[in-house]
């Protein structure tokens, strides 16, 4: 497969790590890029939002995620005005559905990504995206917390692996996510170590099935 880089798709480089690390943690922490903590990233804010409709927690989530959702939509071909409107929409959904967020199932950025992706399909692609059967998660509080943290750590390792990917390959993965490759062009290999995360999610599903049966 040959991939040309047209000007509109030029890779603009990742945002500086300082910006990525921007997160609202009330307790002091030097190494903000890692979750050596006992709480997954943004879990406190999500809980405050879900339990108390806490507006300062929402403001912190908004400050971090709204600009990222806007960037995702613009890189997917949306005009800045529409991207801004949809980013606000996505954050409004996060407010409304905060009580449905389950940290054992996904990290917050994964969850926000799925909301933003679904809005993008609705609005830009004008089609629906059928979802699989909903699974009732969250059976064992203790295992859930360990799962949530482990999933967060794996997600961070994946983010790090993404930055180490050769540029050509990384651009290809980005193009797939920004809707710039047709489903026939999407390659079978991303070149990323996805196996560990998959195994972890798989174990979670097995445990869940065990509880359901």
């Amino acid at each position: 497969m040959a991939f040309d880089t047209s000007p509109g798709l030029a890779y603009r480089g990742p945002v500086p790590p300082a910006l990525l690390a921007g997160r609202a943690r009330t307790h002091g922490h030097n190494n903000v890029n890692e979750t050596s903590d006992d709480r997954p990233l943004w879990a406190d804010e999500m809980r405050a939002l879900s339990e108390r409709r806490d507006e300062s927690a929402f403001a912190a989530l908004f400050a971090h995620f709204a600009p990222r959702v806007k960037a995702y939509l613009m890189r997917s071909g949306s005009a800045p005005d529409l991207a801004e409107e949809v980013a606000q929409d996505v954050m409004a959904t996060l407010w409304r559905k905060a009580h449905l967020f389950d940290p054992a199932k996904a990290s917050v950025n994964t969850w926000v990504y799925t909301i933003a992706r679904n809005r993008r399909i609705d609005i830009l692609r004008k089609r629906a995206r059928p979802e699989p059967d909903d699974l009732p998660w969250g059976h064992e509080a203790e295992a859930d917390q360990a799962d949530a943290l482990a999933l967060q750590q794996e997600s961070e390792r994946l983010a790090a692996a993404l930055t180490r990917l050769p540029e050509k390959q990384r651009v290809l993965v980005e193009r797939a996510y920004y809707g710039d490759l047709s489903h026939r062009e999407i390659a079978d290999e991303t070149g990323l170590p996805l196996g560990t995360i998959k195994s972890r999610i798989r174990l979670g599903l097995e445990r869940l099935r065990h509880h359901m049966s």
């Binding site: 994964t110 993008r120 009732p136 797939a176």
Partner: protein, 217 residues
């Protein structure tokens, strides 16, 4: 639901990635979502691609206009939480995403006979692809056909065999333009499948070709 451990034929990485990135035609998404409802292995692989989407989301940011937060808060402040989704309906041969398109369970499907013990019901069609349910009577054959495009067939009940293999509940068969096949339902019972195709099927004999024109398959 079928025993996930007995599913032998799975979705490809590229289909799962296309589903995760929102690039699949809707008809294919129905088939993928239906398989993910039955198969934990593919569901875990699919969720892994969502994790990658979340990691990518972190890499770029665009400044929002002043007042964006205030505007969003003004919209939602007075709203209560969204309703919690209802608990899943009792098990049916049709997984939830398929029931959504049928408007009910297997009993609600409005079949149209195609002849030779085969019935179909179109679930969804747009300019990109079509999703349909097929019911093949025990021992009956779907007319021998090739494909102008891609076809995903997911078995929901019963089983069929063709030159490629045997496919039971939860299994998916992926066929492209190189595949000519003639699925035959197992003698044990009717085989119910969900098929998504991204171009019209080509049949190899005159009568089914005519049927293809009439029934749009």
């Amino acid at each position: 639901m079928p025993d996930p451990a007995r599913i032998n034929h799975h979705l490809t990485e590229s289909l799962l990635l296309a589903y995760a990135t929102g690039e699949l035609p809707e008809a294919f998404s129905i088939a993928v979502a239906a398989h993910l409802s039955l198969c934990d292995e593919c569901r875990a692989r699919s969720m892994t691609f969502d994790v990658l989407g979340g990691a990518l989301l972190e890499t770029h940011a665009e400044v929002l206009s002043d007042g964006a937060l205030a505007a969003t808060l003004a919209r939602v402040r007075s709203e209560g939480p969204a309703p919690t989704p209802r608990t899943p309906v009792p098990a049916d041969v049709l997984p939830a995403p398929v029931r959504g398109y049928v408007g009910g369970g297997l009993d609600a499907v409005r079949w149209r006979p195609l002849g030779g013990g085969v019935k179909q019901a179109i679930l969804y069609r747009d300019e990109h692809a079509t999703a349909r349910l097929l019911s093949i009577a025990a021992g009956a054959a779907v007319p021998d056909h090739g494909h102008a495009g891609t076809e995903i067939t997911l078995v929901l009940a019963g089983a069929f065999s063709d030159g490629i293999g045997r496919f039971g509940p939860g299994d998916v068969e992926l066929a492209d333009e190189d595949v000519d096949h003639q699925p035959v339902a197992d003698p044990g019972g009717d085989c119910i499948c969900l098929a998504a195709t991204d171009a019209r099927l080509r049949f190899h004999s005159f009568v089914p070709r005519l049927a293809g024109q009439i029934f749009g398959i």
